[in-house]
Amino acid sequence: MGATSMIVLILAALTFSTIAILIAKIVTKATTNPQKGEPYECGIPTKGKTWTQLNVGYYLFALIFLIFDVELVFLFPWAVVAKQVGWMALVEIVIFFFILFMGFLYAHKKGALKWV
């Protein structure tokens, strides 16, 4: 069906979810009370802001990921033609990986891959 299938699928997803939620809304009876709207924190009122800065210590991973993901994008076209190009492809990729791996080792040595 080609690219139009994407539109079909998105529409299908939207219809499916909307219908499901609408039916649920019609069928259920909503009640309100002040406690119901509170954020769940094991039954104790939450302390401090909930939308807080959370130090998740993976920003370095995100950076390294970016590098590797770009590398992955480069690899896709290479992978398609690797078999036809032959030995040159292997040599190229070895050089490519070598540089990348050196960077990876450097990052590892610097402790960038340690969760802080």
Binding site: M1, T4, F16, A30, E38, W51, I64
Partner: protein, 358 residues
Amino acid sequence: MLSFSDISKFIDSWLRDIFNPTWTMVIEMMIAGVCVIGLFAVLGLVLVLMERKVAAWIQIRLGPNRVGPKGMLQSLADTVKLLVKEGMTPDGADKFLFNFAPFIAMMVAMLLMAPIAFAKDFQLWDMNIGVLYFSAISSIMVISILMAGWASNNKYSLMGAMRSGAQIVSYELSAGLSILAIVVLSGSLNLNDIILSQADGWWIFKGHIPVIISFIIFIIAVTAETNRAPFDLAEAESELTAGFHTEYSGMKFALFFLAEYINVFIVCAIGATLFLGGWMPFHIGHWDAFNHVMDYIPSSVWFFGKTFFLIFLIMWFRWTFPRLRIDQLLNLEWRFLLPISMFNILLVTLMAILGWHF
């Protein structure tokens, strides 16, 4: 022999006889949409039941056996239950993002259906970059989780979402690299070409050890990407109560739940396509007589059989292993999976160039 492709061709030609091409297209699209929704619903029901039965048998229990014959209708009853539950929005939440997140999850799951070949010549979109499309769309999934976690106004949700971000982002790489191994071997990004390249044997048998390694890495990586145990840190119930969907209830929760199971199905379908030949029957080299016998089994049976085998594998993992810790999870990716898969791709390239595969 009646097959899915015959049916679709028949409907197509029948519609073309009656309507003009534009209307044919519209009607076909509607039929496709309804079919996909139906498949979605059925898969959700089947997979939930399957999960519960697998879990029960592993845990020396019987599992659901009350609703319907042998508990077959249990997940239907669950759906009805979820339908009559109130879908709350917490007071402090970002209302728009909170309510929109499940839609994104559903859309991603639905979009991933496009390149999958369910049977011979039965595919929604035979695109020439199917593998890339899969990688690209599946990484959108994390956005819905981040959205849900952030919008919930709950610390557990936020932490779950952040964990999920770190996790999916990391495992994206090794999943991509293990897929690349097959791309190198088959020389195409088109899923149909990849399937056809396995006509004389599936890649997992043809490709020796390197392909088996990339298959193992693929299974680990997609288990992590779909947030399934032992990598279910985003919803680790003993740490974060329910992680990113702590605040979700009723149908909105059900949509997340459904999307998770559909994602499991899709990644297993992709795995089956790449490593186990998709709808391609079990063929051995040039044993034509044997291959011919195998061809009698419909292609859709092959496809679903392989896919469900992989789904069972993932469920089996879930009910066997304890959960990893967040730093160990990233350690596994960056210290083990990534270097191994990088080295593996070199091996596969060498093998492809030398023609050592069968």
